[in-house]
Subunit: 146 residues, 2 copies
DNA sequence: CTGGCTGCAAAGACTTTGCAAGGCT
DNA sequence: AGCCTTGCAAAGTCTTTGCAGCCAG
């Protein structure tokens, strides 16, 4: 079992949540999806392959629980909500390919200067910030050329 | 009539779209809303005050048309879609108060360094980026203290 | 055992669509 | 006049909820 999965199991248990079969399958799907963003329906389809009678409402309920417990991250763009495993560390930023929905974290945060400005020169109290860079990854560009 | 409104009328006409009463009221609402983000239902309610029989579908259709024509900007956060007049200029970034939904553009873009990095050191082709800083404006913080 | 989870079915929120009538330009 | 728009009603999509039975710890 991947170390990553073990860590997540621990989080789940520590919160007093139960590790049901549906949850195990969902977590496995996320761990195997390589930080590709999946929508609820894709996740549902993948679950169905292993567990025929799992219901859509279970998927939604668990996605919400995973999101609340910071195991999973929910991102909405292009009129669609997608999910992926949450990266460790505090605030990080993503490059998102809008064709294959794979993501890659940026290695640094461009916000130093900006936060200083906001704190010193405005009345605004920043709580959190989103940086998402949308574009195409190399693989998808190559496929488009065909 | 505000100069801003005149410019928008011009855009609408140049695209071959018609300036119907419903559209005029909607645009007026946006111009008067001072870059506060409004959801479809709030816009609908405001229209109703001036034009009793305007339909929700008209509101949605026009919001889409305004968005397509870059008159209005559509932003989704906290599970809700909101609209506001689109700022001029190419790419700019917003501070958004999640209590009153007022916005303020940031005076500069923190992306110079970052874009250089992406272009030189990754295979990713950035198309657009979103920067949104969520927090509380001064007014809302003061009101919360009461 | 027992409180959390699930399947099922139904409802809910928000948004979109088809169509005939109406209204800008 | 001609085509874009609108009102109306109905449907669509995605997500949530209530409830009774089930199961992981």
């Amino acid at each position: 079992m991947p170390k990553q999965l073990k860590q997540i199991y621990k989080i789940i248990r520590e919160k007093g949540l139960k590790l049901t079969p549906a949850r195990k399958i969902m977590l496995e799907i996320f761990v195997n999806s390589d930080y590709k963003l999946l929508n609820a329906s894709q996740i549902y389809d993948l679950i169905k392959k292993q567990s025929k009678k799992t219901n859509f409402s279970t998927v939604y309920r668990n996605l919400e629980i995973f999101t609340e417990n910071e195991v999973v991250e929910k991102i909405t763009y292009n009129e669609e909500t997608r999910y992926k495993l949450r990266e460790q560390g505090p605030q990080y930023h993503l490059m998102i390919c809008t064709l294959c929905h794979k993501t890659k974290p940026l290695p640094f945060c461009p916000f130093g200067e900006l936060e200083t400005y906001i704190k010193n020169d405005t009345d605004f109290l920043p709580i959190k910030h989103h940086v998402e860079i949308y574009g195409y990854c190399k693989k998808c560009r190559q496929q488009q050329e065909d």
